[in-house]
């Protein structure tokens, strides 16, 4: 199964993307190969390809198909692209039953084509009921909020006064 959306087409259709400066890369050819190897194996791991021979075979084949020359700076993108092309050609990453051994969890045995998480729509309508609720001038919100808002500045002075009275009371009592 192939993906319906091609990332490359997205990029090529957007002229602004092409004007972007390339990302700063300063790596030796050996380091580039290290990264490439690591990236390919990780990609295959993400697809649950068992580590070992199967992973390595696929990685090697993708490199062989790439036909890249050693020491090339942008080896990683080319190698990943090649691996993806290889997987796509063989029905991956969304595998058919024939390749299910690559998927230890057994997920994605079936294709995602036509996958929907909701049933088809069967539209109806709901109209909000009309309330003859309390008018605002009668509502608790109106008068209580007003009273409390007006009392708010007095709250701290009142607390201080209360504490002073308490202390005075204690003083006289003792």
């Amino acid at each position: 199964m192939s993906m319906s959306i091609s990332p490359s087409s997205v990029d090529t259709e957007n002229p602004r993307r092409q004007q972007e400066p390339p990302l700063p890369v300063q790596q030796s050819p050996a380091e580039s190969w290290d990264i490439t190897q690591e990236r390919l194996l990780r990609y295959l791991k993400c697809l649950n390809v068992p580590p070992g021979k199967e992973q390595l075979t696929l990685a090697l084949e993708s490199l062989a198909r790439m036909g890249a020359e050693g020491g090339q700076q942008d080896i990683t993108p080319a190698a990943v692209e090649s691996l993806r092309a290889l997987l796509k050609a063989s029905g991956l990453p969304l595998m058919s039953d024939g390749h299910s051994k690559l998927y230890s969890m057994g997920l994605f045995k079936q294709g995602l084509d036509g996958l929907k998480s909701t049933p088809p729509l069967n539209r109806g309508h709901m109209l909000p009921v009309k309330f003859d609720q309390l008018p605002e001038w009668m509502s608790t919100e109106s008068y209580l909020t007003t009273v409390i808002t007006q009392l708010r500045p007095l709250l701290i002075p009142l607390l201080i006064l209360f504490n002073i009275l308490l202390l005075v009371g204690l003083f006289f009592w003792l």
Partner: protein, 699 residues
């Protein structure tokens, strides 16, 4: 309507009126008597302003506790008698499978930023339960998400796929996420009704942490089919599945007193019952016609969207002529309790705002009186906390005043006798005794009920352990009560002052409350308790002893909050057979299935290779998750040039600075664009720079 049900319906109206008159008399007569007695006990017999306020507050609080008391007492007798002609679950069952047109039912679980694995495992358990019963084909399952967190969104999609894969539930288990969560939970359900409501006759609404057994679900559908006048049938969910001490305490309370109170409520309410928003079955057609809620005029918190929508929906359903019943004796309905005191208080703050909003709906035309009373009752649940606090404060002022100020025996008015204030503290013992009976009698009644029922006490650890558990519950509840009073008073005042509350996700993790957090929340309670205690101890020692129970709870608020949030302590109580509920000793398979499904869902993730498994990164990096998200996003119209440009800038930012540079709303914007997600996936895997790739977990 069948003749049997018609008879039930016509019978109900007359009997309900008599029962409610009796209820009012049982409350009013003792209240008048006790308030009069309280006035007699006060030094000036309620003739001063302060004493008058004390008297008014006492009367309100006495009415409040009397309502609970009489509901419990009546519930006790209803359960003791066992036979109840108005109990819908007691009607003879019918064979739905044999009926010509089996009704289709949707099981809905509205969620918002919950733990996806728990939510989907819960729905999976319900699915399995119906499958085991052979009735799964008549139900469809919907998880309706209002999640705003991008990472949780992706986890939900992924969990949905894994669950469908695990249970082979494609085309049966559905998942939908709304882009705009207008009207929150009620809007989410209304959105379902608009899209797919016509496909079903009933919907059963579950909470993110609730679960119901297959047999209960089938029985609910049967009851609805047998009673065409019923619009909503509400079950009484039992608290289960928690380990922290406070949650176990609530589970125990819920299990031991819950049935009694529910039976009592059923006795008064009959067909004008509550709807609690979940663990209930709703007839969709009348719900769609009569229960879409409008916005209230004015600004939040008392205006705007209706927060506690369930009470209002029940009232509207009833207004339209459909009955709302409480199935108090239908087993197999469960929910989880908040794991800590702070989580419980946060939930209370939301409910407080919602319930106070109901005061504005008291006088809507056409509502039945029972539902008006319910609105008032809901608001009073929080207002009484404030009244209790005021009552205690005024009593303190009165006690301090009488110690510090010499009484004026001879006033300016000419009188033959001096104004002689008389305290009668020795006679107040009678009033105290009555209050204690009202507050605590339901507890021995519940104990008696379980002892009399065969096997019931044994299912809760045996009669002796049950008694010890009740004593533990009384002690802990008495300690919690002043803390709740203080917080609920604060919530009421904040709501009235116009402070709005968030409606975020409820914490369902049992991680416990750290000391630092508890101190920051409860230091005020402790200081208040200490100052109050020291002052009254010095000035009026008699009064100090009277309010010691309140002061103890306030002073111990911090350790109480921390220690009761700990699962280890909850488990230690359980190991000693305390606060045990039947579901802990003999758990139903559905509760076991939640754990096993959650475990299996977790196992399906083990082999994935990304180091930072947050949802957005996984949606970009992992090929499966990326592909799934793109598929579920579906085909969308190309965005406008402006939006496209903005999204391109976000994509570039993500590539240059890593996923950490994006805000949640920026991540969501990218997630809405399947093309960007495909492009990002490709670009991230092709990043030649190791340090940049490391930000995506590919280092």
């Amino acid at each position: 309507m069948s003749s049997q049900n018609e008879h039930l319906y016509t019978l109900k109206a007359g009997i309900a009126a008599w029962r409610r008159i009796l209820f009012l008399l049982l409350i009013i007569v003792p209240t008048v008597f006790c308030s009069g007695y309280m006035a007699y006990l006060l030094p000036h017999q309620g003739s001063t302003t302060l004493e008058l306020v004390v008297l008014i507050l006492f009367t309100i609080l006495f009415v409040w506790i009397s309502m609970g008391f009489w509901t419990a007492v009546v519930g006790f007798f209803v359960l003791l008698r066992r036979v109840n002609r108005f109990s819908l679950p007691d009607l003879p069952s019918m064979d739905l499978a044999a009926s010509a047109s089996h009704p289709r039912t949707a099981i809905l679980m509205p969620i918002c930023n919950e733990d996806p694995s728990r939510v989907f495992a819960g729905m999976g358990a319900v699915y399995k339960s119906l499958e085991a019963l052979g009735r799964r084909e008549y139900f469809d399952f919907f998880i309706l998400s209002d999640t705003g967190d991008p990472d949780t969104w992706i986890d939900e999609e992924w969990c949905w796929y894994k669950l469908c894969h695990l249970l082979n539930g494609f085309q049966k288990l559905f998942y939908r996420r709304r882009r705009i969560n207008r009207k929150r939970k009620s809007g989410n359900i209304a959105d379902f009704c608009r899209r797919w409501g016509h496909n079903y006759r009933y919907m059963i609404v579950l909470d993110a942490d609730s679960i119901m057994t297959g047999s209960t679900l089938v029985r609910m559908v049967e009851i609805m089919e047998q009673n065409y006048s019923v619009g909503i049938l509400q079950t009484v969910p039992k608290g289960v599945g928690r380990d922290s001490l406070i949650a176990r305490l609530q589970q125990f309370t819920n299990n031991i007193y819950g049935p009694m109170f529910a039976a009592g409520l059923h006795f008064w309410q009959l067909g004008d019952a509550h709807f609690w928003g979940h663990n209930a079955i709703i007839r969709i057609k009348p719900f769609m016609e009569h229960c879409d809620l409008p916005r209230l005029s004015g600004k939040p918190p008392l205006g705007g969207e209706i927060l506690s929508h369930d009470f209002v929906e029940a009232a509207l359903m009833r207004r339209a002529g459909w009955a709302v019943w409480l199935a108090y004796n239908l087993e197999g309905s469960y929910e989880e309790m908040p794991p800590t005191l702070l989580d419980d208080l946060k939930r209370d703050r939301r409910w407080c705002q919602g319930n106070l909003q109901h005061l504005r709906l008291l006088f809507i035309k056409g509502l039945c009186p029972a539902h008006r009373a319910m609105f008032l009752n809901g608001a009073m649940a929080y207002l009484t906390a404030l009244f209790w606090l005021l009552f205690l404060i005024i009593c303190t002022i009165e006690a301090v005043y009488h110690e510090l100020v010499t009484p004026a025996y001879f006033t300016e008015t000419i009188s033959l006798f001096p104004d002689w204030p008389v305290w009668r503290p020795e006679r107040s013992m009678a009033l105290l005794f009555i209050t204690i009976i009202i507050l605590f009698l339901p507890k021995p009644l519940a104990f008696l009920l379980h002892v009399l029922r065969k096997g019931s006490a044994r299912s809760m650890g045996g009669a002796f352990k049950l008694m010890l558990s009740i004593l533990t519950e009384i002690l802990l509840s008495a300690l919690f009560a002043p803390v709740r009073m203080l917080f609920n008073s604060k919530f009421v005042l904040l709501t009235l002052m116009g402070k709005q509350v968030g409606w975020g996700a409820q914490s369902r993790q049992e991680t416990g409350t750290p000391w630092r957090v508890a101190i920051s929340f409860h230091w005020g309670s402790t200081v208040l308790g200490l100052v109050w205690g020291i002052a009254t101890f010095i000035i009026n020692r008699t009064f100090f002893w009277w309010i010691t129970p309140v002061l103890t709870g306030l002073i111990l608020a911090i350790p109480l909050s921390v220690l009761t949030s700990r699962s280890s302590i909850g488990r230690a109580f359980r190991a000693r057979g305390l606060l045990v509920i039947p579901e802990e000793l003999n758990p139903p398979p559905e509760l076991e299935w939640i754990r096993s499904i959650q475990q299996k869902l977790g196992e399906l993730d083990v082999s994935l290779g990304v180091r930072e498994p947050n949802g957005f990164v996984r949606a970009v990096v992992e090929p499966f998750v990326n592909e799934l998200h793109i598929r579920l996003a579906g085909t969308r119209r190309a965005p406008s040039f402006k939006i496209g440009k903005r999204r391109q800038a976000l994509q570039d930012k993500a590539l240059l600075k890593g996923p950490g540079s994006l805000t949640p709303s920026e991540k969501i914007e990218l997630l809405y664009d399947p093309e960007r997600m495909a492009a990002l996936h490709k670009a991230v895997w092709e990043l030649p720079d190791r340090s940049l790739a490391a930000t995506w977990g590919l280092g």
